[in-house]
């Protein structure tokens, strides 16, 4: 009978907490959105599955050896760890109170060597870091995975349309207003007492408006790792929603006549220009904004591999197999951050709300900038391509093309919209660099 009780007490059902059950449902919802609604399935399938794995009770896949020991170890071990952390446990309190106070101590400013000593005790009695915790530490904690994905994106990007019409870079710059407006929005909500975000967290939320998954993950891993799960989910979910979010804003801000504007044919771009461009961008980054160097450096490297034409194998690996491998690990790592205590908060709702505002403002700013440029310059610019300034390559460009075709079925804007689209990638990486410089 005792054995049966032990078995029952070790089962998932016995230990399942309400929060974990809710998070497993969230994971299933993400899988549903990915599989049946085709919301960025390449990312949301691993993220959703990782979220379910992270919330399996007792398995502790997403927590460190120390946390795991605190949660399940025997009282003797707990006392040892408390001694290592330089704290004492109230002998009268029960076991759960011990665990809680240890958790508080371990996560609230203990000297690193004390933490290491406690960790050694946990490892010594046979606890180990969870699988997803290790993934997270290697892939995102070190910043590697988002950067490798950025390299792959660089290897997939054709800068031809941008080089043919460099002024479209301004559209990509204008659309970054969404990032900073949202940052200010988050700060304003905090000062009104609605939410509670620090400036770092506000910056990480704002970057959702850059509509660039790897950049969002990179920035939030540096500035606000505790919000990473919510921010990554918001960024990828809204990227999938670009075809729904953008068109109403674009129609609202433009007249029928403006939407019908035809743009002049792009000039052909020589191969030499395409080879020189990533190198030039790299030098400019090195000279003016070294903090954007990790993101833009990898981006330029990927693009150079594509354009130089002598390392086709490397370029092929970067844009296919490597990016796929890293996507799997990145997705699972993001999923590991979907734990009940950090995700099921009021702040997550705030992040989701602010994220969609960021997309809207970015789109509007891009369109308005295009209208402004139309006033000053001689070459006509269809304001719709301004909306492609939020990155979301190539979805945003396709949306601009589609809305353009609705007004005039012979007006193909896709190639013109690719210019601001890739400019948006550069713009949001620059914005990320500024934020990391200012706050990191």
């Amino acid at each position: 009978m005792d054995k049966l009780v032990t078995l029952w007490e070790g089962s998932g059902l016995y230990n399942l907490e309400l929060g974990q059950a809710a998070m497993i449902m969230v994971g299933l919802l993400l899988l549903y959105l990915a599989i049946y609604k085709k919301f960025e399935p390449l990312l949301l399938v691993p993220i959703g599955f990782g979220g379910i794995l992270a919330n399996i009770p007792e398995a502790g896949l997403a927590i460190s050896a120390l946390d795991q020991a605190i949660e399940v170890a025997k009282p003797a071990v707990l006392q040892q760890m408390a001694a290592a952390l330089g704290a004492s446990l109230d002998p009268l309190a029960n076991l759960d109170a011990w665990r809680e106070s240890l958790q508080m101590i371990a996560h609230d400013g203990v000297a690193p060597d004390q933490l290491r000593a406690a960790r050694d005790i946990a490892v010594g009695v046979g606890y180990s870091d969870g699988m997803l915790y290790n993934f997270y530490k290697v892939a995102i904690g070190s910043g590697i995975a988002p950067l490798i994905i950025f390299m792959g994106v660089g290897a997939m990007t054709d800068f031809g349309p941008l080089l043919a019409n460099p002024r479209t870079l301004f559209l990509g710059a204008a659309a970054q207003f969404g990032i900073f407006a949202t940052l200010f929005g988050a700060v304003a909500l905090t000062s009104m007492g609605v939410m509670d975000f620090s400036l770092n967290q506000a910056a990480a939320i704002g970057i959702i408006g850059g509509a660039d998954g790897p950049t969002s993950i990179y920035v939030s891993s540096v500035l606000a790792p505790e919000l990473l799960g919510a921010i990554a989910v918001a960024a990828y979910a809204y990227m999938a929603l670009v075809p729904l979010i953008q068109p109403p804003i674009m129609r609202l801000l433009t007249t029928q006549k403006e939407r019908e504007i035809k743009m002049t044919q792009l000039r052909p771009v020589s191969k030499l220009e395409k080879v020189v461009f990533p190198l030039m961008l790299l030098i400019l980054v090195a000279l003016f904004l070294p903090d954007a160097a990790p993101l833009l450096g990898m981006f330029c490297f990927g693009n150079l591999m594509r354009e130089c034409g002598v390392v086709e194998r490397l370029s092929d690996t970067a844009q296919n197999s490597l990016i796929n491998i890293v996507t799997i690990i990145l997705g699972l790592s993001v999923g590991s951050k979907l734990m009940a205590d950090s995700f099921l908060t009021f702040e997550t709702l705030g992040i989701l709300g602010l994220g969609i505002v960021a997309f809207g403002i970015g789109t509007a700013a891009g369109v308005l900038m295009a209208k402004l440029m139309n006033l000053v310059s001689k070459m006509p610019i269809n304001p719709l391509i301004g909306a492609a300034g939020v990155s979301a390559v190539p979805m945003a460009a396709r949306v601009a093309n589609k809305v353009g075709l609705e007004s005039n079925p012979h007006n193909f804007l896709l190639m013109h919209a690719m210019g601001p689209n890739v400019a948006g990638v550069i713009g949001s990486a620059v914005a990320a660099g500024v934020m990391i410089k200012y706050l990191g």
Binding site: L162, L163, P166, R167, L169, F170, G172, A173, Q176, F177, I179, F180, A181, L183, F184, A186, V187, A188, T190, S191, G193, L199, A202, A203, P268, V269, S270, K271, L272, E273, V276, F277, M280, L281, L284, F288, L289, G309, A423, I426, G427, V430, A431, V434, M435, Y438, L439
Partner: protein, 85 residues
């Protein structure tokens, strides 16, 4: 009071960020335009560029003959030099 400071910080970061993004991309626009002009001047007509770049992979018949000759003579030379040893 602290809220006010936070708000101010947010506003400052917004202005600084947008400023830097615009300045950087403006510099990029200028440099791209300059680069295109330079390349256009020193290597005019993209067709010429293509021909010179592509010659190793899709060469004209004459140059292929030359290349073949070079390869063959190199091989013969090597063969002879190894023989002599």
């Amino acid at each position: 009071m602290q809220d006010y400071e936070l708000l101010q910080d947010g506003l400052a970061l917004m202005a600084l960020g947008m400023g830097v993004v615009f300045v950087f991309l403006t510099i990029l626009v200028i440099s791209v335009t300059l680069m295109s002009k330079l390349i256009d001047r020193f290597q005019p007509a993209p067709i010429a560029v293509d021909a010179s770049k592509k010659s190793p992979s899709s060469p004209a018949p004459v140059s292929q003959n030359d290349e073949m000759l070079a390869v063959i003579s190199a091989a013969v030379h090597r063969y002879r030099s190894t023989r002599r040893r």
